[in-house]
Structures are given as C-alpha cells and as structure tokens.
Symmetry: C2
Subunit: 249 residues, 2 copies
C-alpha cells in the first residue's frame, strides 16, 4: 500500500502498480463498504474519501476507517466540511431522527434525515480528488431501491452529474479524462447488497448504518436506516453482526 | 436587514419583504462584488455565501465581509471547507503564484492557480444553501472572457450544472423549485464589468483581486488576477482604488 500522490495529472493516465485508480466515497455504512469491496474486486486501486461534516453520527467516520483498513485502500482521505451551516436536517441539526416508521412510509417522500444537496457536495469533492490524483472513476454506493427517498440517489441525478463533471475539470477540457460514476448498488435490494458483500468478504460488523447510535456505537434499531438494514439481513437470510441497543440480531 | 431563516422550504416560494430570495457567491473580488450589486439592483433579497477554504489569500474573506456590508445582504454565510486536502493548486498549496505573465499567456491553458473542481464545489454549497432558504436563484460572477482559463468558468459548464441541480434537490423533485444560475458577467470584459459596477455604486476599494497579497492586504500587482484587474480599470478609464505594493494605481 502506498500513500504517495500522483503528480502526473496532466501527463498520463495514472495507475498504481498497473491498476487503474478510483475514488470511492466511503461513509462507514453497509452500502459504501460493499461498494468499496466491489471496486477492489474489479481491480481498481481505491482511494477512499470520507467526510467529517459535523454529523450527529460521527461514529460513522470511525467505521469508515475500520472498513478502509480491512478492505485495503491506497489512501483514505477525510475531508472536513461544515454542512451545519445549512441546518435543517435531522442528521446535522437538532431535529429528531424518525423512528419505527413502516417500510411503506420509508419509501414515501423525503424524510427529515435528508441533508440539502449532500450527494451533490460529496460528488464534487470526489471529483476534485479524482482530478488531483488523475482518476477517471468514482464509485458511490447510492441505491434507488431502498433509498429512503433522497432525490440525489436517483439514476437520473447520477447521469446528469456525470455529464456536468465532464465539463468541469481541467482533464475534461484537455480531453484525456472521461469521468465515470459507478453506482454498482443502484438497482440492488438491501438483501442483494448484503449477499454480494458477504461473498466478497465484507466484515459488516465494522459498518455502522444507524442514524442515531449510542456513544459507544450501538445501533438504535429503530431509525429508517436500521429498519432497512435489519430487513435486508433478514431477507438475505444472513445474521446481522451489528450491535443493537436492545441486543437484538 | 434580517438574519432570519425561512423554515417554509416545502410549503411556498419564499420571499423576503416581497422580494425574491437569491444566493450570491461572494469571493471578495471585483467580479463577485459587481455580481452582488447586479442581483440587488434586479430586486433580489440577497444571501451571500463565501468560503473559508484555507486559501493563501484569506484576506479575501475580510474583503467579502466589507462588500456584503457595504452593498447590503439579508445574511452572509461563510462556509468552512478544507480544499487543501486535495493539494496541487497555487491558491491552496505551496506552489508559486505565476507573476507578470503576458495577457496572451493568461488566456492560454489552465494556470497553476486552478483549484480542482472548485466552482463545482462552490455551486454545490450554493445549491444546499438555496434549498435550505428556499431560493430558486443563484448568482455567480464567472466570466468567460477574462476568465484566466479555468474550465469551470465556461457557459457550457454552468448550463450543465443547472440541469444537474434540477434533479438534485427535494424542491426539484417536488416540482416547486426551478433553479436558475445567473452569470451576469459571463460575456463582459473586465472593463465592462468595472463600468457596470461603478454605475451601481460598488466600492472597488473594498474588493481584493490579488492571488498573493501582503499581510496587510496590499495587492502584488503582478499575478494574473492583478494584471487583468489593472488592464480592466485602464480600459474602463476609471482609476483603480486598490492599494498595490509599489504604490501604483
């Protein structure tokens, strides 16, 4: 593993030991861990990017560190950004995280945990990182099936972002870079994601999905994200290694 | 002036005292100051957004504060983000700012002061801010004439960004928000920008264009940005109120 930065961005398509570079957005959750495992399995030399955005569930950064280490990356950057400046989401502001909603409700509408333009901001940093290291590939674990109703998880958003990104960068202008945003989970159910990741050896005990964990990292078991996760493990017929507050599996 | 936040984002098109809200990206330079004056002159209730991105020329944040105050805004947010994590630009890393380049050279290629995907990142924060306050209008002082060769200052980039943004937000999904990115300077020469701003009463002494100012805010007079500014004032036949290191006007 190497922490070196490529300084050859304008000269060649960079590779790391003959492997193509990719930036992988890594949140610390189940989906992004699986996405990292998929990118690695496809042969990419992965540069993981996480965000410290003063989120309430900061334990997810620790989870991202564990996952990056266990799956293996070239470099893991944690970009500090202050999203609280925009307030209004239950993930960053002082609003209650919704609990124990029905699965029908989870799919309907846009919940209080939505952070304005979050994926747009995250992808923009991934784009900057990709341009800096000279990567043409960005992996992101968005999912349009069990996607909790976030607008910026939809395939049409991703496609449009990719079109914009091609015009945004030095490398795009110079014509040697053609950015691709890979969303390998976009059409998978949570159960299929878990089955895929389990085959690839993802240690799901390292991941943290909960929007409202305890200080020692136990999942609440009741927020939308916990409910989707538990349903996924149940349907995949795989036991969930998460530590939940009430000791459930 | 009010510092109140609209909390009505999903219910109505918000206005401030019957004026439509706009987010204005404000860097502290000549272009964004003029853009703010234009937005205000068009009747928008302006929310200014600046970035503290650990830039070498942090004095520009002080300039942004002076401009926001002198032109008058509803609110001025300064979002702290760490772009240094991506290194490699003379504006954020330890690379020399190019000096005394010819005007022909300034228009050619992409200079060392280019920060990867910077406008993409800035617009993403503007989008989050617009969504939070319920604004449908973003103003940005990009310029495709004297634009120093940045890829993300081109009209086709802005148009593509606007298409993407329409798909990125809760308000876009719910159909009540149609984001417009206004770039009133995009086809103006620097001289025309200065003439326009002067008519609107912009105090250009408050602005800071220099990429490499002294600690007390004097402009170097030799970087691309200073050269373009001096040329603009000369061609506009208006005296430049900037304080330059060598005392020139």
């Amino acid at each position: 593993m190497s922490n070196e930065r490529s300084n050859t961005m304008t000269m060649m398509r960079p590779e790391s030991n003959n492997r193509t570079l990719a930036v992988v957005l890594l949140s610390g959750g189940l989906d992004s861990a699986t996405t990292l495992a998929i990118a690695k399995n496809q042969g990419f030399a992965c540069h993981a990017l996480s965000f410290d955005y003063e989120q309430r569930h900061r334990l997810e950064i620790e989870a991202a560190r564990r996952i990056a280490k266990s799956i293996g990356v070239e470099e893991h950057l944690i970009a500090k950004i202050d999203l609280r400046v925009f307030g209004q989401s239950a993930l960053t502001a002082d609003i209650d995280v919704p609990k124990n909603r029905s699965h029908a409700d989870i799919g309907e509408g846009i919940p209080a945990t939505y952070v304005p333009a979050r994926n747009t901001i995250f992808l923009s940093f991934a784009l900057a990182y990709a341009e800096t290291i000279g990567a043409e590939d960005i992996f992101m674990g968005v999912n349009a099936i069990d996607y909790s109703g976030y607008p910026d998880c939809r395939p049409e958003f991703i496609e449009s972002y990719q079109n914009m990104a091609a015009l945004a960068t030095k490398a795009g202008v110079e014509g040697w870079q053609k950015l691709r945003i890979h969303t390998p989970l976009i059409k998978l159910s949570k159960a299929e994601i878990i089955q895929r990741g389990t085959k690839l050896g993802v240690d799901y005990a390292s991941t943290l999905s909960c929007y409202d964990p305890t200080l020692d990292g136990k999942a609440c078991g009741q927020c939308d994200s916990c409910l989707l996760r538990k349903k996924g493990f149940r349907e995949a017929n795989i036991s969930d290694p998460s530590a939940y507050i009430n000791g459930e599996r």
